[in-house]
Amino acid sequence: MVPPKPVPKTKPRRGIFHAFKGNLEALMIGVKYFIDPKRFTLIYPKEYNKLREGYRGFIVLIKQKCINCASCARICPAAAMKMIRIPEVDEKTGKQKVKNWPVIDYRRCIFCGYCVDVCPTEALYHVPYHDVVYQNMAEMYLDLESFQKPPEYKAAEEGIPVRYIVDEERGLVKVPYKEGEK
């Protein structure tokens, strides 16, 4: 392998016809994009960006898999994930006992995904969207019930899904999303 090497450079020299040539080049490129503009604006309520699998969006708990280990609460850098104590009846013995369950505070969450990655049983997962609306601040502090349901995704109900792909000629291109794509 070759290590990096320094290369001295200078600005391109200004030729005699630079003023003429430079202006012409700039105008030509302006005309080119006037005729054939590159646009990839998302017309948001009418269409929405179908994000790829693996996007770190809102977090959902699968309670059946949770082993109450509190790893997620311990690793959370923003202290958004917290363990709450909920009394319940043990099915086998019928005794009263208190268990710790994780809940999330979306006022604090920074979507780093550490909790999902640290969970030893995959009891947490990300939903691939982030545009969720809450009516007030108190709603953003989820309880155990609402933490188990994926948040309501209004944009998906009203809009059509699109996806951005990289194109060699046009950069980012907006294409309609096909079912089953990852």
């Binding site: 392998m1 070759v2 290590p3 990096p4 090497k5 320094p6 290369v7 001295p8 450079k9 200078t10 600005k11 391109p12 200004r14 630079h18 003023a19 430079g22 202006n23 080049e25 700039a26 030509m28 490129i29 302006g30 590159k38 990839f40 994000l51 790829r52 693996g54 996007y55 770190r56 280990c69 790893s71 311990r74 690793i75 850098p77 923003a78 920074i110 979507f111 780093c112 995904g113 550490y114 990655d117 640290v118 969970c119 030893p120 049983t121 995959e122 990300h126 951005y164 792909i165 990289v166 194109d167 060699e168 000629e169 046009r170 950069g171 980012l172």
Partner: protein
Amino acid sequence: MSGFVSTRGQVGFNDLKIPGAWSRKIGKDLYEVFIGPQHPGSGHMRIIIRIDGDVIVEADPDMGYVHRTMEKLGEGREWIKGIPLYERMAIHDACNVTLPYVRAVEQLLGIEAPLRAKYLRVLLCEINRIAAYLYGFGIFGVFVGHSTMYMWPFGDREVWIELADWLTGARLTHSYPVFGGVRRDVPADFTNQLRKAIRYMRKRLEEYRKIYVDNPVIRARLEDVGVIPKNLAIELGITGPNLRASGVLYDVRYNDPYEVYDELDFEIPVFQEGDALARVWQRVEEIKQSLRILEQVADWLDKHPREPILHDRFWKTAPPLHKKIFETEGRAKLVPLYALLKVPKGKAYARAETARGEITYYVESDGGQKPYRVRIVSASARNAIVFKYILPGHRVMDLPTIYGSIDYFPPEADR
């Protein structure tokens, strides 16, 4: 506005009414103008200039408006929680900014990331670098009144953000490197998309040259403006592309190679002129070199099979479920040990080349779960002093040009 034109003394205190700027008379034919911190052209900082007519006599950069006590906050958090925190210095350059912290802690732990993880770190670092340069171009473009150059780089930056999003799962705050490796492997078909983006960007840089960098109007405004001579650049201790544009060969990737930069074939462009135009060209050339690095990284990743991307110390204790998820999804799950990590007592020092220059971390551990001290010297903090020495002698109209060409980023400087 009338107060600005008249310098005869009948203008009252605080008479100038430009949004975000504020002025007062401090002597005969001498006005003090406060630019920022809410001025759209100054970011979160204030530059206090004293002007005689239209000529800047004295300039005083006044920073610290977005200081977030980041170093102190880091002392109260566990080691791994420092990564998302320090990332907030420059979110569009997240991997470059946090990498030296991760490397310093790795030094203390006595571990090193696997080779594949190193290549993946370089991959994201270069994607971030290109995105950060394009961000700088956009801001610079709108500073000199070229709104096309504002729209285009911001549009093309989306390409790189989209790739970073696909790789890490987040557009900006990736939190990608962790101690002993990285969090995700490349998705299938990622390298092909990356190659398309590289070819697209090469074409695009030629168009940037035509409409902006070599445009006679822009050239007239940038050429021989804000010249930082070589000796002054060394004396002030500025860093990054600004230093290299003044003819000094200093790049951490070259002088003190980290990760796999010593195995990659790329050039360090060094411009001699040191003016605003040379600084723009410097960044254009550096994007080209970053594209070259990315090409080599994509080839390497294609040729080599998947291997664990976390160090054995963490990966060997991983349960079978973690290994299954890594094989199917390419996602390296973290072991719970990360949250309770105890770093051996010691001091470590690491540095990296970010898009704006050298960033250094000094990390001290007392053997506990939290760092004893993390000292950060970021690139923008070192570049800010330039304004004091470069602005005097220029006209007020050159201030945005110089500000934009330095590519100063206040949140990174203030920490």
